[in-house]
Symmetry: C2
Subunit: 256 residues, 2 copies
């Protein structure tokens, strides 16, 4: 009964499954699915849309921390969809969180919020010798409308923190794959996030003390252009994986 | 016929009038009004909404530079209005600008995009001895939903620049008043922008060469917490006014 209550939105997505795989027994979960789940979940759940204010009020009741993954996850998503589902949806659930007295809000931002920093620097920045780093203090440079929407969500988080005291951690998630990192794809290896590091990072964001943070969500890859300093320092993130450990090995691409 | 063609949206607002008062003869103007203007304008004009894609295509045709002021200007505007008019509206007109081959886009951002930087620093930062400065490289900290929408517009501008080559100058406009600066209001004096400096700054943004910029739009006030360095360096901004010159004088509040 003293267990931390955590609302996870977008529970059926890839990030949501990585988190639940690793942390199912750690918290008192409540899940939000966009559509009815194909099999009965192991945790209490709701079904519906994040832009539904009444449903969000119900979802947030009695919750300590929200992990907000819901939204249109497609990098190529059209503007109208990200405007409604990602920007407006994030505002609706943040408002519901504040109204319900939720303490912490972990927001799934994305590498796409800063995609255009790569434009004049690739492919060098994908390589281990390159020292260019983004650290979360830089202004967004989205590579698509999806990235624009993720940057807007970060700004909404800043507003809800400054104005209402909500503690907000934005995680600019890299490239999550199950098993090994992407093959023959330097960019994907540079921003790889393993399943267990993903679960651990979100556990850190649930447990740590902070006000407003923007951190990068990748494993401790030799190839990297995202700094992990802030995640390590503020959240205590201690990644176990590194895409370099898989280089040169024989492997098959999994279907995830 | 070689005159620069400039589309001004939000032509009836306070900033729009300051610009037209100062620069009426400098460019080949086309105006966009939200409602039919009460008296016949001195320039060609259209009437309608920035979210109207067909109208924006028509408005942008043959235009070199857009000054985009239109939107809900109220700091206390509700979310739904700024989501539609400011965020979505800015996307619609930026897309129309790119489709029409417009070269430059001057975007009216606002001090409200960074309002919460003041929270722990006031009233000291409003005073001449205080050396705290915002310079446009900092992440937004909006003080209201209007400020959230202005920050989102800046990010949209970054995207349209990076992705489509549109040259974008975001001006975080301070406190524009006609005649003298606000009286007995330190914050207003610190972010004061005179009418003539407003017109001159926008002339600079129409004429100068740049890629993507965020600058502050205030006069050269002794009291200030916005840096003018970038506006001076990149745009050639040379402000003539200073709210300190009005201190101690007798004056009346104008109705603007």
């Amino acid at each position: 009964m003293d267990e931390e209550s955590v609302l996870l939105t977008g529970a059926k997505g890839r990030v949501g499954r990585a988190i639940l795989d690793g942390l199912a027994d750690e918290y008192d979960w409540r899940l939000l699915f966009h559509n009815p789940p194909p099999e009965e979940p192991d945790h209490p759940y709701l079904v519906g849309d994040v832009v539904d204010e009444e449903l969000m009020a119900e979802a947030c009741e009695g919750i300590d921390t929200i992990i907000h993954l819901a939204g249109d996850p497609r990098p190529e998503a059209p503007w109208d969809s990200v405007l409604e589902n990602n920007i407006h949806g994030t505002k609706v659930i943040m408002q519901a969180a504040v109204d319900a007295g939720v303490e912490k809000f972990v927001y799934a931002s994305s590498n796409h919020a800063v995609g255009h920093y790569e434009t004049e620097r690739k492919p060098d920045l994908y390589r281990a010798h390159d020292e260019f780093r983004l650290d979360g203090t830089e202004l967004p440079r989205p590579g698509n409308f999806y990235g624009v929407s993720k940057a807007a969500g970060e700004t909404l988080g800043r507003f809800y923190h400054d104005e209402h005291g909500l503690k907000v951690c934005c995680i600019r998630i890299g490239n999550l794959t199950k098993g090994h990192p992407p093959i023959d794809y330097e960019r994907g290896q540079a921003m790889w996030l393993s399943h267990r590091d993903c679960a651990h990072l979100h556990q850190c964001a649930i447990d740590a003390a902070y006000d407003y943070e923007i951190v990068y969500g990748i494993s401790d890859n030799d190839r990297k252009y995202y700094s992990l300093e802030r995640a390590k320092e503020v959240l205590g993130y201690d990644p176990q994986d590194n895409s370099a450990h898989f280089e040169g090995e024989e492997r098959v691409v999994d279907g995830d």
